[in-house]
Amino acid sequence: MDSLTEFFTSLQLDYGYLIRPLIVGTLVSVVCSVVGCFIVLRRMSFLADAIAHSMLAGVIGGYLLMKVFYQQDSNLTAMLIGAILSGILTVAMVGFVTKFSRVKQDTAIGIMYTGIFAFSAFFISLESVSQYIQIDIYHFIIGDIMAVDNSELWLLAIVASIVLPVVILFYRPLQLTTFDPIMAAAIGIPVMAVEYLLTACTSLVVVSGVQIAGVILVVALIITPAATAYLLIDRLDRMIITSAIVGVLCFWFGFAIAVFLGTEPGATIVVIMTGVFLSSLVLAPKYGLLADWVRKSNTVPQEMMEDVLGCVLRAKGKSVPVTEVLKHIKKPAPRVRKSIVMLERQGLLDVDNDKVLLTDDGRFQAKRLVRAHRLWETYLDRTGTTPKEKIHDTAHRLEHLSDEKTVEYLDDKLGHPVTDPHGSIIPNDSELIVGKDLLLSVLRSGNQATVVRTDGDAAPLDLKVGQRITMGPRSKDGRIWQVITLDGKKLSLTHNAADAVVVRLIAKS
């Protein structure tokens, strides 16, 4: 028992000085990270940063005023009022420059706050001023949280008891004006007043926070926990709570490390927070980079699946061992295997005993691809856009542009070629469907059809509706279509004439 009491007494003697900074720091963390959610969502982060820096001018003003006229050192109230005034001045000047010049807001903020901050630093380093004032710019920036006194504790308690109820009471107006200010105006929410309210809360939080925790810690506490929560959470109310929890936990953890290592607490906490942000950037379940990467690698690109189909088609109806497919497609094996699984799921491949076979649907799709590939090869060859030795590779990339309209366009433009530049037949099974109305120009030698319609002036006069025809082989490099009628008459048609006749396919050969 005694030893326990002793333990706590010694704990209080050794570490009692930590309690006040810990309480004050926790309060700062909560208010900053709650208000920060709205600042991040409204893209005002840079403005918070600006207020934090430029308030140095106000602090100095308040300090000097009390010192010179009332001989008081470090009057907190005067410095606070000065800081708030300089915050308002910064916001006003940024607004002024943005409105009346072509300089945009981010630039205006950058100019104004660095200017005001630098002027303050310049001013207090003047010999005639520095005799009056002891403001330590290093601590202004990095903070001196260990040195907080009771008046600052009270200050923070008051600020927290103003800001937190405001956020809770005005939650819906704040949410709606942030998300959709036009609707907010339409249902009678005073949009500008809500914005001023938020700016006032921000200034209050920043000004009181910087007094205690320094510029860097306050700005980081406003932006970083909120941004972390933004990556993790999909709802504003939960984002605010998460942000507060992240802020407080980072503060405690960083504070403990700082005490343990004897480092600067403000800097340590910011380092921890940044670390937490970066790890959630990578690990966040929905919006993290890792989740993104997993999602991407889970979806097999269409192209790879098409390559697999093409590879299996080349086996001409025999089943192919998976290892063979892997050998032909020079892509990472697990992904090729995954695309085989996907193709099986889509009913295009049968997988049995590590061997793959095209289904009827699969064969149809594969032929469609071969058709696209050979048409592209013909196109590349005829247009002369690509050197001969590169035609195959280029066509291999282009064959994935195989939507119906593209292929139809190519086919027509090339005069419905029968063979590609290497002499291989360009399959058109996907076009030739028995019983379907087609242009005569797409028919191949041996096809039988009846004439349904003849369109336009280009239509040959000696073909009558209802007449039955058989296609002969093309002549003159495929530029002339030969039609054989039932009574054995041979007709020659140009591309235009063949395009002008609509027929119904009866039989393919």
């Binding site: 969502l41 009471l169 005005f170 819906r172 107006p173 949410q175 709606l176 942030t178 998300f179 959709d180 200010p181 036009i182 609707m183 105006a185 339409a186 249902i187 009678g188 929410i189 949009v191 933004y230 959470i233 999909d234 709802r235 504003l236 939960r238 984002m239």
Partner: protein
């Protein structure tokens, strides 16, 4: 005294008088006066940058005009609360905002509660009903960014329905949605109109304007015409308004005067 008795019928849903709005040296709207009667489906059309959205924002009380007034059912727009519902243009919404489909729909009920009050169970029920109407119930708990374009548009339709306002304003609801969604939105608009409400739509497709709307406001900084599609979509007026696009419009104007039905004119937008 007869005038008094008929007041509720005669008072226009939206009355815009001598409205001039400017953002810079050139006015976005110049001396626009128009009276939109109750219970009509009205289209605002005009080329890009013709002040269509500005007119709409003025009707919502979001923009303070340089000169002029906007009255909603005879009351100045700044005094009117929640009688006008609004569906924003898709491009102007922050789709990354941490908010779910249901929460957006529930926003329609905000105007029924004081700002410090919580939403009631009934409000959530009405929000759910509105989502049901636009067939978005299955996506209730999704974050709004994880929807397709048409679905996103329907969520905001649900919000407007939940608000149950007498006037519905939509900013380019048909931009970039598929044909099915376009049909679905149009059906909801027709239903809303038949329920006696006034619907105003900013629209850029001249080809469909005649088919969709009872009345058309033709706008380019100033009011060029206001009337039935037959009155407004005449070649003379259209070439006046769309001067930069004469070639495209010679064709279109011809179509719309020949047959006030279906034209095709997606090209209208990109002038």
């Amino acid at each position: 005294m007869i005038v008094n008795a008929n007041k509720s019928i005669e008072v226009p849903a939206i009355k815009v008088q001598h409205l001039t709005v400017s953002y810079g040296p050139v006015p976005a709207l110049l001396d626009v006066s128009v009276e939109i009667p109750q219970g009509k489906l009205v289209g605002i059309i005009g080329p890009n940058g013709s002040g269509k959205s500005t007119l709409m924002k003025s009707m919502l009380g979001f923009i303070k005009p340089d000169v002029g007034t906007v009255e909603i059912f005879g009351t100045d727009v700044t005094q009117v609360k929640g009688r006008v519902a609004y569906v924003p243009q898709r491009g102007s919404v922050d789709w990354d905002f941490p908010i779910t489909v249901r929460e957006v729909a529930a926003m329609g009920r905000y105007s029924y509660r004081r700002w410090w009050q919580d939403l009631k169970k009934e409000d959530l029920r009405l929000a759910d009903e509105a989502l049901e109407k636009v067939r978005m119930s299955d996506f209730r708990d999704r974050q709004i960014g994880q929807l397709s374009g048409g679905q996103q548009q329907r969520v905001f339709m649900a919000r407007a329905l939940a608000q149950d306002a007498e006037i519905l304003l939509l900013d380019e609801p048909f931009a970039g949605v598929d044909a099915a969604t376009e049909r679905a939105i149009l059906d909801v608009l027709q239903e809303t109109k038949e329920a006696g409400k006034t619907v105003v739509v900013v629209h850029h497709d001249l080809g469909t304007a005649a088919e969709y709307f009872n009345l058309i406001i033709l706008l380019k900084q100033r009011l060029f015409a206001f009337g039935t599609p037959f009155q407004v979509l005449n070649p003379k007026l259209l070439t006046d308004v769309y001067e930069g696009n004469l070639k495209v419009f010679a064709e279109l104007a011809k179509q719309s005067s020949d047959d006030t039905g279906d034209g095709t004119g997606d090209e209208v937008n990109d002038g």
